[in-house]
C-alpha cells in the first residue's frame, strides 16, 4: 500500500515500543479494575476469603508460577538469540515459550475441572449454600484466572505468529521490534500472574 510509504519511510523502533508499553498499561488497568474488586471484597469478607482460599491447590499454583517465570526467561532469551543473529536458537526458545504456555493452560484446565467436579462454579448449588464471601471469592477466582488464561492463549498465538515471522525472515537481527513487543506482552501476562498467585493461593 502506498499509504505505508510515509509511515514506513522511517522506522521508529522506540516509537513502536512506546506504543506497546502504552497498550500494556491498558491491559494492566483492565486487570486493575478486577484487583480493585478483589481488594474491596477481601477487605469486607476477610474470614471467608481465608476459608475459600484453602480450597485452592497451592502446589498447582506454585508449579504454574514456575512455568510462567521460566517461559518469561525463554522469551527474553529468544530476543537475545535473534540479536546475535542466531535464528535457529531464537525459534527454539520461542517454541519452548509456547510449550510452557500450553503447559500452564493444561494445568489450569485440570485445576478448573477439579473445582467444577466438586460442584464449585458460579451459580452452583454447592456454592450458593456458602457464605457470600466465598461466593465472591470463587466468582473472582474464575473471572480473574479466566481472563488471565485468555491472555495466555492470546500470548501463545502472538508468539506463534512471531515464530512464523522469524522463520520467514520477517524478524531478523536488523528488525526485531515485533518480537520485542510480543515479549513485552508475554512478560506483562507473567507480572499479572505474579500478583494473582499470592492473592488467590497464598492467603490461607
Amino acid at each position: 500500500m502506498s499509504n505505508q510509504e510515509h509511515a514506513m519511510a522511517h522506522r521508529d523502533d522506540v516509537g513502536s515500543r512506546m506504543g506497546m508499553w502504552l497498550f500494556l498499561f491498558t491491559e494492566l488497568l483492565l486487570f486493575g479494575g478486577l484487583f480493585f474488586l478483589y481488594s474491596v471484597y477481601r477487605f469486607v469478607n476477610q474470614e471467608e476469603f481465608h476459608i475459600a482460599a484453602k480450597e485452592l491447590d497451592t502446589i498447582i499454583g506454585t508449579f504454574n508460577t514456575a512455568i510462567l517465570l521460566t517461559s518469561s526467561l525463554t522469551m527474553a532469551m529468544s530476543i537475545s538469540a535473534i540479536q546475535k543473529n542466531n535464528k535457529r536458537l531464537s525459534i527454539f526458545f520461542q517454541l519452548i515459550t509456547i510449550l510452557l504456555g500450553f503447559g500452564f493452560m493444561v494445568n489450569k484446565y485440570f485445576e478448573w475441572t477439579a473445582k467444577i467436579n466438586h460442584g464449585i462454579f458460579p451459580g452452583s448449588e454447592e456454592l450458593l449454600n456458602r457464605g457470600s464471601g466465598e461466593i465472591l471469592f470463587f466468582g473472582l477466582y474464575y473471572v480473574m484466572t479466566g481472563l488471565h488464561g485468555l491472555h495466555v492463549l492470546i500470548g501463545i498465538f502472538i508468539i506463534g505468529t512471531m515464530t512464523w515471522f522469524t522463520s520467514r525472515d520477517i524478524i531478523t537481527k536488523e528488525s526485531y521490534v515485533k518480537l520485542e513487543a510480543a515479549g513485552l506482552y508475554w512478560h506483562l501476562v507473567d507480572i499479572i500472574w505474579i500478583f494473582l498467585f499470592p492473592l488467590f493461593y497464598l492467603i490461607t
Binding site: 510509504e5 502504552l22 479494575g33 474491596v40 457470600s132 466468582g139
Partner: protein, 547 residues
C-alpha cells in the same frame, strides 16, 4: 515519489484503492479524520432525534407521544450515543486525527494502521448500538450509567449496548495510544514541548486519560455481561456483591471521561482566540499545564457522582474537597482566554463567535458543577434535572460549541471551500438562544425538585418543561441551518486556495488548502512558538506590564 504526486490534495490522491475503498481502507490520518466526521455526524443525528423526541414527550404531563418503556430506552440511547459515539470521540478523532500531525509538522500519526482499526472499531460499536434497537427485547433501558442491579435484571438488550460501549472504549484507547506516541516521537525538528500549539497539549492530556481510564470501564462493563450470562455474583447484592462498588468502578472512568470530552474543546478555543484577536495567547504555559492538571485532578474526583449513595463520611469529605480543586485549572484557562482578548484586534468571525459562546456556556456549566460539588447542596440536587442542565451546559454548550467552532474554523482548510458567513451567524444565534431556552429552565426545575429520568411529572413543573421543549425547537432550527450551510459549502461554496484564511500562525495555515497527501513538502524546522504574531508593532514580553 514524483513532485507531481506531492502536490495532489489528499482528497484526490489515488492510493492502491479507488472510490469508496480508497477511503475506508485508507490509513491517511486526514481521510480517517473525515470518515470519523461522517460517521459521528450520522450517530449524532440519531442522538439528536432521541433528544428531540424526549422533549416532545415531556411537553405535557402524562403520556404525550410514547410509552414509559419507550421513553426509558430513549434517554438510554440518547445518553449512550451522545457520550460514547459523539462527545468522547468527537474532537480527538475528527479534528485531532486531521490536525494533530499537521500541527506538529508530521506526515501522519505514529501508527496509521492502528488508526484505521480504531475507526473500524468505532463504526462496529456504533452499529451494535443501533442494532440493539432492532433486536427482540428492545434497546437497553438502564440509563447510560448501567447501574447494577437494574442492568442485570432488565430483560432488554443490555448485553449488546454494554458490549458496544466496550468496543468503543477500545477504539478510544487506540486513538490515545496513537496520539501519545505521535506527540512524543514525531514532532518536527525544533518543536520543543513549549512550542507546541495548545490544541496539541490538550490532546496529549486527553490521550493519557483515554489510555489509563478507559480500561477500567471496559472491564466493568464486561462484568455486567459476565454477571448476566454466567450468573457470577460480583455485584449482585443477593450474592454478597456491592452495587456501590459498581458505581465506583463506573465513575473511575466516567468522570475522567468528562475531561476527555472537554479538554480538546478547550484546546480548540485556545487555538481560535489568539487567531481572531490577532495577538499572542496570554499565559501559554499556564494553559498548557492546566490541561495536565485537569487530567491529573480529574482522575481523583469520581465519587462526587455518588454523594447520595451512602459512602463513608471520610470518602464524602475527600471527594468533595478534590472536586473543588479540579475547578481551579479550568478557572485559570477561562481567565487566560479573557486576558487574551485584552488589547487584541478582535474580528468576530463565526469561529470566534462560537468560541466566545463556549466560554460563556462552559462557565455556567462549570460553575453549576461547583455547586454540585458542595455536599449539602448536592444531596438536594443530585439526580434532578439540575444535573441534566449542568452536563448539557458543559457537554453541549462546551464540547458541542467547541465542535461547532472547530467546524467553522477548519472546514475551509479541510475541503478548500468557504461557507456562507451570514447563514453561519444566523445559525449561531438560533443555537445560542435555543440552547439557553432549552436548558436553563432545567436548573430551576431541578432546584425545585424535579428528578431526572422521569417519564411523567407533577403538574407544577409543566411550564418549565414547555419552555424547555420550545427551546429545543429553536435549537434544532439552528442546527439545521448550520449543517445545511456547511454541507452546501462543500458542494458549491466559494473555492478557497489561500493557505492562510484566518491569519493563523500554526502550521496548518502554512500548507496548501486543502492539504496535500503528504502534508508538507519538506518537514519544517520550527524556530519559534506557535502564537508569535511578530507583525504586531509592540512586542511586550513577559512580566513587563500589568493588565
Amino acid at each position: 515519489m514524483s513532485s507531481e504526486t506531492t502536490h495532489v490534495s489528499y482528497l484526490e490522491y489515488q492510493g492502491r484503492y479507488k472510490g469508496l475503498r480508497g477511503w475506508i481502507f485508507s490509513t491517511d490520518h486526514k481521510r480517517i479524520g473525515i470518515m470519523y466526521l461522517i460517521a459521528a455526524t450520522v450517530f449524532f443525528a440519531a442522538g439528536v432525534v432521541f433528544g428531540f423526541l424526549m422533549r416532545l414527550e415531556l411537553l405535557y404531563p402524562g403520556k404525550t407521544i410514547v410509552s414509559a418503556q419507550t421513553y426509558n430506552t430513549f434517554f438510554t440511547l440518547h445518553g449512550v450515543i451522545m457520550i460514547f459515539l459523539f462527545v468522547i470521540p468527537g474532537l480527538p478523532a475528527i479534528f485531532g486525527n486531521f490536525f494533530l500531525p499537521i500541527l506538529i509538522g508530521a506526515k501522519d500519526v505514529a501508527f496509521p494502521r492502528l488508526n484505521l482499526l480504531s475507526w473500524w472499531l468505532y463504526v462496529i460499536g456504533g452499529a451494535l448500538v443501533l442494532l440493539s434497537i432492532l433486536l427482540p427485547g428492545g434497546p437497553a433501558d438502564t440509563g447510560w450509567t448501567f447501574y447494577i442491579p437494574y442492568s442485570v435484571r432488565t430483560g432488554t438488550n443490555v448485553i449488546f449496548t454494554v458490549f458496544a460501549a466496550f468496543i468503543l472504549g477500545f477504539s478510544s484507547i487506540l486513538t490515545g495510544i496513537n496520539f501519545v506516541t505521535t506527540i512524543h516521537r514525531l514532532r518536527a525538528p525544533g518543536m520543543g514541548w513549549f512550542k507546541m500549539p495548545l490544541f496539541t497539549w490538550s490532546l496529549y492530556a486527553t490521550a493519557w486519560i483515554q489510555v489509563l481510564a478507559t480500561p477500567i470501564i471496559g472491564i466493568t462493563l464486561l462484568l455486567i455481561v459476565v454477571e448476566r450470562v454466567f450468573g457470577v455474583g460480583l455485584f449482585d447484592p443477593a450474592l454478597g456483591g456491592d452495587p456501590v462498588l459498581f458505581q465506583h468502578l463506573f465513575w473511575i472512568y466516567s468522570h475522567p471521561a468528562v475531561y476527555i470530552m472537554i479538554l480538546p474543546a478547550m484546546g480548540v478555543v485556545s487555538e481560535i482566540i489568539p487567531v481572531f484577536a490577532h495577538r499572542t495567547i496570554f499565559g501559554y504555559k499556564f494553559i498548557a499545564f492546566s490541561s495536565l492538571a485537569i487530567a491529573v485532578f480529574g482522575s481523583l474526583v469520581w465519587a462526587h457522582h455518588m454523594f447520595a449513595a451512602g459512602m463513608s463520611d471520610f470518602g464524602q469529605f475527600v471527594f468533595s474537597l478534590l472536586t473543588f480543586l479540579v475547578a481551579i485549572p479550568s478557572a485559570i484557562k477561562v481567565f487566560n482566554w479573557t486576558a487574551t482578548l485584552y488589547k487584541g484586534s478582535i474580528s468576530l468571525e463565526p469561529p470566534m463567535a462560537f468560541a466566545l459562546a463556549f466560554i460563556f456556556l462552559f462557565s455556567i456549566g462549570g460553575l453549576t458543577g461547583v455547586m454540585q460539588g458542595a455536599l449539602s447542596v448536592d444531596i438536594h440536587i443530585t439526580d434532578t434535572s439540575f444535573i441534566v442542565a449542568h452536563f448539557h451546559y458543559v457537554m453541549f454548550g462546551g464540547t458541542g460549541f467547541g465542535v461547532f467552532a472547530a467546524l467553522h474554523y477548519w472546514l475551509p482548510k479541510m475541503f478548500g471551500r468557504m461557507y456562507n458567513k451570514k447563514a453561519a451567524y444566523s445559525a449561531f444565534w438560533f443555537l445560542f438562544i435555543g440552547f439557553n431556552v432549552l436548558y436553563f429552565p432545567m436548573f430551576i426545575m431541578g432546584w425545585l425538585g424535579m428528578p431526572r429520568r422521569y417519564y411523567d411529572y407533577l403538574p407544577e413543573y409543566t411550564i418549565y418543561h414547555q419552555i424547555s421543549t420550545v427551546g429545543s425547537w429553536i435549537l434544532i432550527t439552528g442546527l439545521i441551518i448550520m449543517f445545511t450551510n456547511l454541507y452546501l459549502s462543500l458542494k458549491r461554496g466559494k473555492k478557497v486556495t489561500a493557505r492562510n484564511i484566518w491569519g493563523g500562525e500554526t502550521l496548518e495555515w502554512q500548507i496548501e488548502t486543502p492539504p496535500t497527501y503528504e502534508n508538507f513538502e519538506e518537514i519544517p524546522l520550527i524556530t519559534e512558538g506557535p502564537y508569535e504574531y511578530k507583525d504586531n508593532d509592540q512586542d511586550i514580553l513577559e512580566e513587563k506590564e500589568v493588565v
